[in-house]
């Protein structure tokens, strides 16, 4: 992993003074999740006039949080939840928005703002849709205004989804927690009342069998590690040539290694056979394996184009067909959860990555079209990482890397663990109300914002 020495520097007294004087970015070390750590550091302010605010406050009290319903000038907040579920026209945004502004400076380091509103597409009424859509703009702009590692994100409730639905509660917890450290300016759609709260929020994947492709290193190894921390048994998959790294990863997690080229026509079947034989079941699939073959399109040859498409998307389509066909055979769990790795390149595009961006945009399309095919409460979602500090980004030229890692609201690159936390959330029952969506883990990178 590349080391962000600038962030280290500006977190020293002298460096902080210098950065401030010169008007340079001042990234802070983000709070990250550790089992047993408090959900929020400090009290949580819940504002807004609709039924959602009451439900959220009740839930937070249930989680043992110090909940405040009225702003007070002397309070310091770890998080602020602003419910806009009852807005009927853009003028209705005013009171809650301004109340939010009045306490903005009282939000602590790595603080959280979570807005809650109903899906704009859920209403034909122009004024209502305008008001709901307005919350998006408010949330995104507020995310840009956040300081000291704080983030702002939204939860978008489907028209008939109550604010107490498991998916809404799950999204709330994820966004409030340090698990969402590098997620900002994003929205989690909760389109159904499916899903369930885990028995233990620190082990939401207890007893699950999870297949992670590309698990030998980087983001894949981090995903395997976080899924295992959250209770899952890991089946690590990677190409035979990466077997040594794969063995190290799974041996540290008490999992099993399956050396396999995912572009093989029978890859899905071989994964199923492994899970059937060893574990008797398959609950979670994380399509993480991916490659880059960067060239300007004018210089791209067929091998470079085709291999990226084959590995990054065609293999996933083929494996999903095998998994969906096997659903209900006693091995694939009825509520199968799939997470697939997209990329902000697939959203914004990136020079030199036409093949990669095509494959990653294709992933976003694939998950949205596969969602309705999932049966038994199963879900499929994508995670789109932005600039993440990995071996791959460590090889970027210094200046390109330095610019890339600062071009987001948190002024730093994310870590593989940040992507892994988002994946672990999306494959948990707590995200059961979300399917077909793509969640960006990019610190609100300006690319494709």
């Amino acid at each position: 992993m590349s080391t962000d020495s600038y962030t280290a520097l500006v977190n020293q007294p002298l460096g902080r003074t210098l950065a401030k004087a010169l008007g340079l970015p001042q990234p802070v070390t983000l709070r990250r999740h550790a089992p047993g750590a408090p959900l929020v550091e400090g009290s949580v302010l819940v504002i807004g006039g609709g039924p959602a605010a009451d439900r959220v406050a009740e839930q937070l009290l249930d989680w043992g949080q110090d909940v405040r319903r009225h702003p007070a000038a002397q309070d310091r907040y770890g998080a602020i939840v602003a419910a806009f579920d009852d807005v009927g026209t853009p003028a209705d945004l005013s009171s809650t928005a301004l109340q939010l502004g009045s306490v903005q400076r009282q939000l602590g380091p790595s603080g959280r703002v979570v807005t809650l509103f109903k899906d704009p597409a859920g209403t034909p009424d122009p004024a209502v849709r305008a008001a709901r859509k307005g919350v998006e703009g408010l949330t995104r702009s507020l995310a840009h205004e956040m300081r000291q590692g704080a983030t702002a994100n939204g939860i978008v409730l489907g028209e008939d989804v109550p604010p107490g639905a498991p998916g809404a509660i799950g999204a709330l917890r994820f966004l409030l927690s340090a698990r969402s450290a590098f997620v900002s300016g994003q929205f989690i759609p909760v389109s159904s009342a499916d899903g369930a709260a885990p028995r233990d929020w620190d082990r939401p994947l207890a007893g699950r069998i999870a297949v992670v492709t590309g698990a030998a290193r980087g983001i894949g190894a981090a995903i395997a590690g976080i899924l295992h921390r959250d209770g899952a048994t890991i089946v690590g998959v990677d190409v035979p040539a990466a077997g040594e790294g794969l063995a190290d990863v799974v041996n540290a997690l008490s999992g099993s290694a399956l050396q396999l080229d995912i572009t093989a026509p029978d890859a899905g079947e071989r994964i199923l056979a492994h899970c059937r034989e060893r574990h008797g079941r398959l609950d979670i699939v994380v399509h993480n394996a991916g490659i880059t073959r960067d060239r300007k399109l004018a210089n791209m040859d067929a091998a470079q184009w085709d291999s990226v498409i084959a590995v990054n998307i065609e293999s996933q389509l083929a494996m999903n067909r095998a998994f969906l066909a096997a659903t209900g055979d006693g091995v694939v769990a009825p509520g199968l959860r799939i997470a697939s790795l997209a990329s902000t390149s697939g959203i914004a595009g990136n020079a030199g990555q036409t093949n990669y961006a095509a494959s990653k945009a294709a992933v976003i399309g694939m998950v949205s079209a596969t969602a309705p095919l999932m049966t038994g409460g199963g879900t499929i979602n994508a995670v789109a990482p932005g600039f993440i500090e990995t071996e791959m980004t460590a090889r970027m030229p210094f200046l390109t890397r330095e610019v890339a890692r600062r071009m987001n609201s948190l002024s730093q690159g994310g870590r593989p663990v940040d992507v892994a936390e988002a994946v672990s959330f999306l494959v948990s029952d707590a995200a059961g109300g979300t399917s077909g969506a793509t969640l960006r883990v990019c610190g609100q990178g300006i690319m494709g914002a």
Partner: protein, 444 residues
Amino acid sequence: MTENPQPQTPGAAAVAGGALRQAVVIGGNRTPFARSHGAYASAGNKDLLTAALNGLVARFGLQGERIGEVAAGAVLKHSRDFNLTRESVLGTVLDPSTPAREVQIACATGMEAIGGLANKIRLGQLDSAIGGGVDSISDAPIVFNDARSVLMDLNRARTTRDRIRAALRFRPGHLAPEAPGTEEPRTGLSMGEHQARTTHRWGITRQAQDELALASHHNMAAAYERGFFDDLLTPFGTLTRDNNLRADTTLEKLATLKPAFGRDLGEEATMTAGNSTPLTDGASAVLLGSEAWAAERGLPMLADFVDFETAAVDFVDGDEGLLMAPAYAVARLLQRQGLALQDFDYYEIHEAFAGTVLATLKAWEDESFCRERLGLHAPLGPIDRSRLNVNGSSLAAGHPFAATGGRITASLAKMLHEKGPGSLGLISVCAAGGQGIVAILRGR
């Protein structure tokens, strides 16, 4: 001896009056094999064996598991590695309370380790076991015998005068190392020179040897291409495949090589670097278990380890070839198991030299050899050559002495499992000292 042979408790071990049970091959793992003084020049026996074990643990999810026993060994090893296998086990993520022991019978070390463990499983003494081996010519113990005697005298000296006297005996020439070779101590001939005589005696042609070598490379390359080794091998260091493998070799290229052994035979010398195995570094491990142990863990059962047999020949004073012992062992094993040589779906005959395989096959077809030497009424007969070393053997992969048995056992078990229940495979591994081990596996 108890008078009542009935088991005292249900499922009692055979050694406690119960029935014998099957020992099954669950799977295997090995490092890619590397030509010596190359890719693994800086890795030692312990590094390689630990890597092979860790890859096996990862494949079968054995982290923290207490395995009944791990048996392995190396043909060439430092005296400091007296507990090589135990030390390697301690370097893995296996339960540290997994016992381990050393095994050594030259090139058949891996087979002896696996066969002995299988017997313990059959007897009910073990539920699980890992057998294998490792060798690193690059990590071979170099001996300075002359310097050693001076240093030992120096160590034994009690007075300053004795010490000076001992030290003065030291000469720069004493630092000339004696590398371990493949010479037979009793004949002074290398293994290749021994085989050159056997090859010549049996009239094995250069053409036949080169064809066998070619088939080995092509068969192994094809096996890699179709992913056969995906679950048999874990990369190590810079290698993802055996670096001795030459997928593009041809009979023409092999024909250009000059004889490397039996040069005293002049024009009749046939053994080259192309149809002989090079010195190689690598390690292998095979997971064995009882049916119940495998089933409880949802582990595959590829094949039963049916039986094995060791033989030795008198190559010093007698007139048998150094590497001909497997010819004898197979005859005895077939007789014990009531099988004919033609009953097998696959034959895995270790290619120490192409000449070894071809001389052995020819001996089994030879009436007088089978009658006079093996004591049979009729020759064992020919085998279907299309069933021989179908995924390549040592000529292509290389031959890290003690690791070869594990390589063959795991590959054959997988082949038999793919072939189907009841399929039969024969393993034959020759060894230095005029010895050899052969074994039978049955697919499941």
